[in-house]
Structure formats: C-alpha cells, structure tokens
C-alpha cells in the first residue's frame, strides 16, 4: 500500500477508507450530502475490483448489501438522512442477525436543511432504536479513519456500523493522509447456508435480541478504550466541554478566538458512549457545556451520568445552544459566554448590508424540459387552475413550488405525492394533479400508484421523466438503461409499469410538443380513474454535459432515445 496526502472532500475520504480496507460491494441511493460516495465508486469501481450500484431505494440498497455480507463480501451502503427511514425496516432485523462480512452504513444528515425538504432529522436517534454502533466524524481525516474503524468494529463484533456525517463534514475539504491499495480483481463471495443466523423467525428472534444485548456490552467496553474519544486541551479545571462531530471544531475555534484553555472531551463514538470516560471527565467539574447540533441526545446521556457521579455539576446544552439549525463558531462562543459567564470583548462583530437583500430562489436550469411542462398544465387547466390541487414530490420537480410556478400544495417524502394525492382525491370532489420525477417514481412511487388504482381515486399523475436522477448530480436510474459502472441494461419504462399496475389512461409524450401535452391534460382531467402522462425529455444539463464530453456516453443515456 502506498501512503498519500491529498485534499479530499469528507465523502471522498469515506471512499478512500473503504478502499483501504478492501471493500467489495457498494450500494445505496443518491441524496445530499451523500451522493459523492456512490458517484465516486461508479467511476473507480472497475479498476479497484469493487462492485458498485445505485439501488432503486435505500431499503433495497441496504438489503442488497445484506445479501453481500451474508455471502462473505465487505460492503458499504450510502444514503442521506431520510434514507435511513426508508431502510429502517430491514435495518432493525440486521442488528439482530448481525453481519457475516463487515458492513458500514453511511448516513448524511443535513442540519439547516440546505438541500433537504422533509425535516431537520438527527439520524443519531436510530442508534437507540436499532442498537447499532454510530460513529460521528468531524473532518475528512476522521471520515477516512472512522470508515476504517467502522469496518474494524463490524468485523470484530459482527454488527453493521453507522457512519453518521453531516453536510459540514461531508462537504468539507481538507488534507487527508490515506493508504492507496494496489489494484485487485473482482471477488465473488460464497453463501454458506445458516438460517439459524439469517432468519428472524420467532421464537429465534427473541434469542437474537438477547445475543445483541450481550454483544452491545462488549462493544461498550471497546468504546471505552477507543482512540476515537479523546480529551483535548487542559487536563483539569472546573469548567469543561463535551462535543462531537463538526461542533468540535466550532468549540476549538471559539476557544482560540476568546483565548481560553478549557478541557474538551471529543466523542467520536456516539453509540455506545464511553460512560466511564465521560464519568471521569465530569468528576470535579462545576459546569459542563455539551456542544452538539440538533437533538440533545448527548446532553441527556451526560445529565444521567452526572447525576450519579457529580450531581452538583451544572450541565448546559440546548438552554444556551439552539436545537434548530446548524451550529457555528459564533453560536458556540455565545453559548460558552452564557454558560460559563465569561467576560470577553472578543465576540464576533459584523457588518450589515444596510438594505434588505431579496432571496435568490433556486430555479429550473436554462433549457430544462420542465419549463415547458408546468405552464402547459396551467394553460390546460384554464379557469380551473385555482381550484386544482397540486401534489409535489422530491427532486427537481420541487421547483414547481417556487415562483414563478407556485404549483405545489403539499410536498413530503420520496413518492409521498402518490399516497397523499390519492387521499385528497378520495376525500374530496376536487381535482388533483400530482407531479413526480422518474427517479422518485422508481424509488417509492409504485406502491402508491397501485393503491390509487386499487382503491379507486382519480388523480392525474404527471411524471416529469428527464431520464436521470438529476437533482443530486446525475445518477443513473432504472429508466435509463445504464448502471453506475457504465453497464448497458434494459430500459424500464414508466408507462409499462403504469399499465401493469392497472392504470387505463396512460400517455407518453415529449413535452416539447406542447399542443399534445395540453390536449392530453385536458382529456385526462375528465377521467374518473387514475390517469398518467409520462413527459419524457432528457435533462438539459445532462444533454449539455454529453455534448461537451462525449466520453460520458458510456455512463449515460443517448439523449436521442
């Protein structure tokens, strides 16, 4: 192995970490801030003897990796925050069965929701539900180190390990020292039958739970000794800080700016927590600030530990640091000032622009085929426009909710438009026009569509099929006929799926033909049953990328098809 030092994005460092331990199998679903992991594997998998894929959704992605793990292959699963909700149904039993070959599950949270609708989710909470170890890195170097650590833990205890990152870690660039392994050939696993371990049929499932709890105690002892948890700065003092993830750097920065030297306990393990180490740190402290983003998980744990070890200690957390939005150095500095009653003139002063600056909304790209679709739907609705209910879904079609379109009356999670539009259509006499993209349709739209047909509602579903999962940076999907590794496969057509699901009114058209789209909308609005229009036109950005770099053709669709 060759040692290298390079500036890497946090997510690129995860890839290097997985390569360094010899990962064999990579699956997942693209989202922000996680997509770079799967993208990078798509580019380098072949030359490194790794199999990489984009799954149809995160649940399937995890299950795919479970199959690989049971067959003896080292696997990596990658997803954004909400992905873990999607895959949780299989995540919990996986904790019970355990892994055979090691597995790391990367989950990227997005505090402040820079690129996330839905909710400001703190995925660390899944640790409690699943009893799966969770590591929380702060920097690209730790993204690399903790990925390797994750495989080490997984291999030692036969559990999957969650590597939980956040936008400011995943999209942070910094120098990373890493091992670059030599190229190798693809590896095939061997599934050795062991239903005793791989089937959660009761009553065996209850034994498995007991086994998991016993394993958990061992992992706890391991966490106590791990170098991923460490005390920095002054060793003793009446005041101290406990922190994790990106907050660690805000703490260090704030201390530096204010010229303070306080003991800092940095926790790389979020779960299980090194309780003895924490207890030792709390001893003799009068005041402790817990600096963590989003939910006060750590703070609650520390309050419990303090109660037995040092009940007089004052614990600060969400009473001085916001639970909403990202933290930053300024917020942490203010938190320190409030908690520890620090007198300082070195707080952050700022300039004001002097005018209110209008927000620049994200928008559809120049030449985007959706620019045709949205106004034509409006035109077709004519006088009924205001009465019509518009369902929205995740992806580029979210832009329908922004000016100048303003065509979105609800928007939830991947594929949710199908179910909600059915519900609105069933519960009212109002007409529902529901928008969904191709990637989202494949991800979670199909069960909702079947439900609408089965339970007889009549939304008009418009699939904005731009032949690619575009918003997250152009990932291949089943509609395209290409895989992430550049393989040619069957193109799965949305209209064929709709027909098979029992939809009687199905039309596929190119939205460049605006007249055809307008009459299709008008015709289908009259139907008493579910109808679908598939508007198929390749993403304008992809078309431009392919034109300027024809070599990309092996990874992407031919726009002429």
């Amino acid at each position: 192995m060759e040692k290298k030092k390079k500036v890497l994005l946090g997510n690129e460092a995860v890839v290097k970490g997985a390569l360094a331990v010899g990962v064999d199998y990579v699956s997942g679903y693209p989202g922000c801030p996680s997509a770079e992991i799967g993208d990078e594997f798509g580019r380098i998998a072949k030359e490194n003897g790794v199999y990489a894929e984009w799954a149809t959704n995160e649940k399937v992605g995890l299950e795919s990796a479970i199959g690989a793990s049971f067959s003896g292959l080292k696997s990596l699963v990658n997803m954004k925050s909400f992905g873990i909700n999607v895959c949780s149904d299989s995540l919990f039993p996986l904790a019970y069965t355990g892994t055979k070959a090691p597995m790391v599950i990367f989950v990227g949270d997005d505090p402040s929701c820079h690129s996330s609708a839905q909710s400001e989710q703190d995925s660390r909470g899944y640790a409690y539900l699943s009893k799966i170890p969770v590591l929380d890195p702060s920097s690209p170097q730790e993204c690399y180190d903790f990925t390797k650590l994750g495989y080490e833990i997984s291999e030692k205890f036969n559990v999957p390990v969650i590597l939980r990152s956040t936008t400011r870690v995943a999209h942070q660039r910094a120098p990373v020292v890493f091992d670059a392994p030599d190229k190798r050939d693809f590896k095939k696993g061997n599934f050795v039958k062991n239903p005793h371990q791989f089937s959660t049929m009761p009553p065996r499932v209850m034994e498995m739970k007991t086994e998991l709890l016993a394993k958990f105690e061992k992992i706890k002892a391991y966490a106590e000794k791990s170098k991923a948890n460490k005390v920095i700065g002054k060793k003793t003092g009446k005041m101290g800080i406990v922190t994790t993830g990106i907050s660690y750097y805000y703490v260090m920065e704030a201390l530096e700016v204010m010229g303070l030297d306080l003991p800092v306990l940095k926790l790389g393990f979020f779960y299980p927590l090194p309780e003895k180490l924490i207890a030792g740190f709390l001893k003799g402290k009068k005041k402790v600030l817990v600096a963590e983003e989003l939910d006060p998980y750590l703070e609650k744990e520390i309050r419990v530990i303090a109660k037995t070890i040092n009940p007089k200690a004052e614990i600060f957390g969400k009473n001085v640091l916001s639970e909403t939005g990202e933290l930053n150095t300024e917020k942490v500095a203010l938190g320190l000032i409030k908690a520890f009653k620090i007198k300082t003139s070195k707080i952050f002063k700022t300039k004001k622009a002097g005018v209110q600056i209008p927000r620049r909304y994200p928008r559809l790209c120049d030449g985007c085929p959706y620019w045709n679709i949205l106004p034509v739907i409006k035109r077709a609705l004519g006088q009924d426009l205001d009465k019509t209910i518009f369902g929205g879904d995740i992806g580029c079609n979210m832009m329908a909710g922004l000016p100048p379109h303003n065509m979105q009356d609800y928007m939830f999670s991947m594929g949710a438009s199908m179910g909600i539009s059915h519900g609105v259509s069933k519960a009212t006499n109002q007409k529902v026009v529901s928008l969904i993209g191709d990637g989202t349709f494949f991800h979670a739209g199909i069960p909702g569509l079947i439900n609408a047909v089965y339970n007889k509602s009549n939304p008009l579903i418009v699939v904005l099929d731009n032949r690619i999962t575009a918003m997250t940076g152009h990932q291949q999907n089943p509609g395209m006929g290409k895989t992430v590794m550049g393989g040619d496969v069957e193109m799965i057509k949305i209209e064929d799926i709709a027909t098979s699901c029992g939809v009687k009114h199905v039309k596929t058209l190119d939205p460049a033909n605006m007249g055809e789209l307008e009459s299709a909308v008008k015709e289908f609005l009259q139907k008493d049953e579910v109808s679908i229009i598939v508007c198929r036109h390749v993403c304008a950005l992809l078309e431009r990328r392919l034109k300027s770099n024809p070599d990309l053709g092996k990874f992407y669709i031919n726009p002429q098809i």
Binding site: K5, K6, V7, G31, C32, P33, A35, E36, H114, S115, S116, S139, T167, R168, H171, Q172, R173, A174, P175, I246, Y249, Y250, M252, E253, E256, V257, N328, T329, E330, F348, K349, T350, K351, K352, A353, G354, V355, I357, P358, R359, R360, Y361, P362, R363, L364, C365, C396, M398, M399, P403, P404, M471, T472, G473
Partner: protein, 188 residues
C-alpha cells in the same frame, strides 16, 4: 501566521466549487493547513452559493465566522453584498461587476452603492465576466480570472506558482490551458 479567511460567493453554475478545489490544492502545495466548506444539491440550482476557505498553520472550523473575513470574492454583485456580514473594517472585497438578475433584484446601482458602504477595507470591482468573454470566449472563467487578480495583487497569501501547479492537478487537460490563460490574464 494568523488564519486567512476567504469567503467565495456567487450563483450556482458559476464554477465556484471548482474554484474552491483549486484554492485548497494550492494551499496544500504551499504547505498550509487548509479547510473549506461548500454546498451541493438543491442549493446549487441557480441559487446563492457561499463557500468558505480558511488557510494557515492549524485550521479548526471549515467556516469563516461573521465579521472575520480577510477577503470576500463575489462572482456576482448582489451575492457579494449578501455576504457582507462576514466583513469587518479591514475586509477587502473583490467583486465581479456582473449582475444575474431575478424578479425583485436590487438595481445594479443600488447594489454597488451599498457595496461601497460596507467595504471599508477596499473594493476592487472588475468586469471579470466581460473580460473573459471578450478575451477567451467564456465568461465562466471569471472566477479563475479573479483568483489570478487576487494572487498577483497579493490580496491572498498564495504564490502564482502554487496556483498554477494546482490548476495542473484539478482542471482536466482539455480545459487546462484556457484556465491558465484566464489566471494569467490578470497579471497584466
């Protein structure tokens, strides 16, 4: 040395992420510790994009704190003004005199007037997009042109050689010469 704080801002699609990669690489070449922060996904789709680059002996946070920027590079005038909360009385603004309007946009005059007010440390406003379009046929090179300007005018503690070497690593061969030209255009 004290950590140097750079805020680099503009609109999605202006090549800001590439610019951050070039800067990071140049810092590594020059032996600095460096950390940067950027945003991908929805926030890139024609919306405001703000990135942070911090270089020095040992850098902790990847984000510049409010009022702590040494240099604010704006690839678009309104976006430069939007991020003036990172400025103090010594902060230098390097702004591409280029407006990408939208409904409700401030007039260019109003934006420039306000920029003048907040840039007590100095304002360099340059028609980088126009110059690059005229000289090189591509306005997307404005960022690299401004980087050249910042380096040659010593607004940023990086040597031209470090950045040129970084361009070799970061920019694909096909576009490399064009980028080197844009970088050196500001030398004159």
């Amino acid at each position: 040395m004290k950590t140097f704080n750079l805020v680099l801002t503009g609109v999605g699609g202006q090549g800001i992420i590439t610019l951050v990669s070039i800067l990071d690489e140049a810092c590594l070449i020059q032996g600095y510790d460096v950390k940067s922060s950027e945003l991908h996904g929805l926030s890139q789709r024609g919306g405001s994009v703000i990135t942070h680059v911090r270089l020095g002996k040992e850098v902790f946070s990847p984000m510049v704190a409010e009022g702590q920027a040494d240099l604010i590079v704006g690839l678009e005038t309104l976006e430069a003004l939007r991020d003036s909360n990172f400025a103090n009385d010594k902060t230098i603004f390097l702004v591409n005199k280029h407006s990408m309007g939208f409904p409700g946009y401030l007039s260019e005059q109003e934006t420039m007037d306000n920029l003048k007010k907040v840039s007590k440390g100095g304002l360099h406003s340059i028609e980088a997009s126009e110059i690059c379009k005229k000289e090189l046929g591509k306005d997307v090179l404005a960022g690299v042109y401004l980087l050249g300007y910042a380096v040659y005018k010593k607004l940023i503690p990086l040597q031209p050689e470090s950045v040129l070497k970084a361009l070799e690593t970061v920019i694909p061969e096909k576009y490399r010469e064009m980028n080197i030209k844009a970088f050196n255009l500001a030398k004159a």
